[in-house]
Amino acid sequence: MNFDPRFSGRKFASVGTRPVRPDGVDKVTGRARYGADFNMAGQLVGRVLRSPHAHAIIKKIDTSKAEKLSGVKAVITAKDLPDLTDGDAGMYDVLDNCMARTKALYDGHAVAAVAAVDARTARQALKLIEVDYEVLPHVTDVDEAMQHHAPLINEATFTEGLEEKPVKPSNVTKRSQFGHGDVHQGFGHADHIIERSFKTEQTHQGYIEPHACVASVNLDGTAELWVCTQGHFVYRQHCAQLLGLEASKLRVTSSEIGGGFGGKTHVWAEPVALALSRKAGRPVKLVMTRDEVFRASGPTSATSIDVKIGARKDGTITAAEATLRYTSGPYAGTWAEIGAMTAFACYKLDNVKTVGYEVLVNRPKTAAYRAPSAPMAAFAVESAIDELAKEIGIDPVEFRIKNAAQEGTRSSYGPVYGPIGIGPTLEAAKNHPHMKAPLKANQGRGMACGFWFNFGGQTCVDLNIGMDGSVSLAVGTVDVGGSRASLSLVAAEELGIDYSQLKAIVADTSSLGYNDMTDGSRGTFSSSMATISAARNAIKILRDRAAQMWDVPVDDVIWEKGHAIAKGEKYGNLSPLSLKEIAAQSGKTGGPIAGHSELVADGAGVSFATHICDIEVDPQTGATRVIRYTVVQDAGKAVHPTYVEGQYQGGAAQGIGWALNEEYIYGKDGRLQNPGFLDYRIPVCSDLPMIDTQILEIPNPNHPYGVRGVGETSIVPPLAAIANAVSNAAGVRMTHIPMSPPRILAAIEAERKG
């Protein structure tokens, strides 16, 4: 990578402004095309048959009656998706999750699929498929799954990460440990110790748009896929591998996306749609229903966490320890490991130890959900921190400030921090008017901190300058939160032109080099780096063309405010040439003008946030109301501040739903009881106050503009901040998320009874 990513401290003309979003008109007029809005000639309707059992051996599948039904063009089972994963255990799990091979591992696991001329015929065909199941005992609870007598989900699973190799299989796939110092000794120096256990229930990202795709496989081995995804290049790789296609012959186009939040980083329906199309010889559209999205896409982990924190009378934490158990569905994951790494990342600790256990259960395969695993760990840790501050008699903000990590602190997950923003977010929260606002009866205030790593990754950008001087920007990171606007601002900044001269698009997989997924808060961080690089490459060409037009050496031409300028007194009579003037002559000076960049954007920089909230609790019913909510977060540099605020508000809103209402409820039969938005209640506008935001800008030294990712950190503190507020309002410590009215009422009544 011939590109210097270091922060330069430049002054900005475009970056930091708030222009109108380029995708806005299409979205508000209904022209924007989402996953289900695309159609192809001769297209069939795909539908999936799903297991009604939480755990069952698939003894036999008879598809003969369905195949004979008029209008049915293809029926597939796992036999139509042979194992081409070549020993890649992770991809084999993906394959098995797309279509169960020998066992159904959760309620909703796909077992067969059909493609028919219309939806009615497809539904009729599903009813004609006969599946002979041998139902097995199941387990859905994280703690129960860890018991030695629990039903085994995969008999080939032996726990990794133990000092001695286990001799018996288990539902625990892995143990991981992080920390430093000696916690035993540290607790010995503590005057106060808080030790508590916490639980969080499984939640779904709750994106409004269900998974949807249109697949078309041709006889010559080429194929097309239109799909709603966070990463069409990754989908191409995975689908090509699972279907035995050549990646470059599978063209994947990403639609507009109606929310993803980590849930659209994995393939489920797409390989099935491609397999149906291959068998039917016609395009197939496959759209999941909301019921299917809940039962068979990728929710977050349910957790069980024990926390112990000790401190001296003066408020110095002497030791901190946590044991974190996270469900990963029926396949191995690394979710507890992430929880164990993030749990105490906000604090300066001499003695810290975290242990994570990955636990198999008969639930859907866990997927990422916005700073995956960190919110649950923060809930447990920040609740205990608050309780400890109260016990010592120190203000909870002061307690956190006293113990906050800073530059030079050894993080709880290992490395020593560079410049970080936890201290400034806490100071800003302490001085925020929200902290001093009066509270009424039955109202409580809570606050909490949160940490997330942020990531970069492989990124590719094309910048093309038209002969009329307009500029198109083709990026490969799916726009999940406004990146087309922010990247246009970045290109405008570099080129020195107006934002209105630019149009950014998300290019398909055949038009641009590989891009990693839009995840890990990397979209604007990574693609802005590539955009800066591509724009600078284009400027080199613009300077060269201007030099030709003037017949002067290119080294005498500089680029400033959107113009080529011949420097030096000898060129005093030469008027600057604008980008538009140079572009108009491009056909005569060497052809099209473009800038290209491919790079790995690393050094994303960790991110911190502090949230404050006020909650009112009705002591008669346990019902809650969010009265006021404030987010303080470090953005490095807010490229488009309105979008940054939107990310902060969105994370807080999702966190509020997770904290107060949302949960997967399984019956004793292992079947999901609430797979719909009526019974799985996400917050709507009327449930929420205006969420205030405060953007801090502590530049990331590893980005030319100082940009950090902002998409995920905002969901880390809410569970804890709200739990602290509810606990303060209700006068009882809440330890189980969601804090639904029945749980709050039960806690209040238990406290009354003593």
Binding site: G414, F453, D602
Partner: protein, 81 residues
């Protein structure tokens, strides 16, 4: 010569060592030599390991130089949402 700290699971595969010394100028050479010295690490390197250099996490920049005296920490390669 750089000193490299391994996280728990990786340390077990390196004969129980939490720190190892490697003569390496960049991440690519570090991974190559680690795989030579501790063959059990090779599949993990193949799957992906992140490298923290003075607190900044690198996942894919294998050409990144390892400055003399820098704190080098190997971490699980994580994904986000």
């Amino acid at each position: 010569m750089v000193e490299v700290t391994l996280w728990g699971a990786l340390g077990q595969l390196a004969g129980g060592r939490s720190k190892v010394e490697v003569e390496a100028k960049d991440i690519r050479e570090l991974f190559r030599k680690l795989a030579e010295q501790y063959p059990a690490l090779e599949p993990w390197i193949e799957k992906g390991i992140a490298v923290s250099i003075d607190g900044v996490i690198y996942r894919d920049t294998w050409g990144k130089r390892l400055p003399e005296g820098a704190e080098i920490f190997l971490l699980p390669r994580l994904a986000g949402g």
